[in-house]
Amino acid sequence: MPDRFSDELIALLPNLRRFALSLCRRGDLADDLVQMTAERAFAARDRFDPTTRLDAWLFRILRNAWIDHARRTTTQGVTIEISDAPDAAIVDGVRDIEAVLTLRKAEATIADLPEDQREVMMLVCVDELSYREAAEVIGVPIGTVMSRLARARLAVAARMGIK
């Protein structure tokens, strides 16, 4: 008998890893977070409402796993505000270095944003959650999501010279 929950979770692994990488910026840790998320998800699967988005539910679990990890491993000294971007921005059919540099600049610009702005940007603009769904993942009011998101996008637009 086919198990939709398992199938969908496995199909979402790349998206989970992308989000994990945006939070922790390290490939090895991103893999650990995805694994932790899968463990917790299987354990809690009966609490998942199948009429809602599975990815949003998993992102929430992943984000909590990340917070747990961050709490357990409070590091010495400065925590560098790092950012994300998946392993490589695949540039479709791009043949010139200019476009690659623009994309790398966009990645670096997003890397400089405060963590809370970057996170809403990821969930809404990349994973295409609604403002409400993103608010549920993060556990803040919808207005907070919208104001962080607006600030983030205007900052990116300004830095990238988008007119």
């Binding site: 008998m1 790349p14 995805v34 560098i80 392993d87 540099l101 607006a150 996008r153 988008i162």
Partner: protein
Amino acid sequence: MAIDDERLMAYADGALSADEAAEVERAVAEDEALATKVAAFADSRTMVKRALGAAPPVSDKLAATIRAMAEADATRRQGPAGSAQVIDLAPRRRTVPFWQLPIAASVALAVGVFGAWVGKPATGDSDRIAVAAIEEGALVEALAAVKSGEQTEIGNGATFTAIASFRDGDGQFCREFEHDRAGGDTVVAVACRTEETWSVRFAVASAASDDTGYAPASSLDTLDAWLSATEAGAPMSEDEEAAALAALR
């Protein structure tokens, strides 16, 4: 109605009701500054999606671990042994190691040895493609100093363009760069810093078929596949990169 940034953004995202959207449209039609802001919201969304939207397959190891978890979960849910049917999980995806990727005829996979690039023949030509003899000193200097996004000459009319810095799966400091010989081959490569030296971990070369010297898309695909396979971290921000470069001195 107050037309604040959040409302303009919601309008750009199609998240307003029809009535609200109509009100915003009227305001935007009369005020160019508002129109510009709407465009900024729309464009930034597109740009972010393009920059961060890639979701390559996870490593074989991670996929296998998760599949095993799914199987164990299924077994647990099945109940007593004997009543079980094997659950058919998502079919295994064969992830091709990057060196087995089909490579376009014009691209030769170069195994970088510090000091020289040598190409393996892609088409069965017996001639090896000697891409360039790297100016060692100049390359080392460039790797240690040039910011990502900038370019420098490194002798014999060749240019070095720094593309991005990142940490590999082992936490080593790596830099992705492009080396163009004047009127000749283009190499996109990754060099990582171990102890006191840079070693080239990956390089892909293409004999330029025209004078543009740009690396074709297929070689970037190969690079991206390698980055994925080696669990490369995300590109560093400007500040992080500056700190990592400063630490070299």
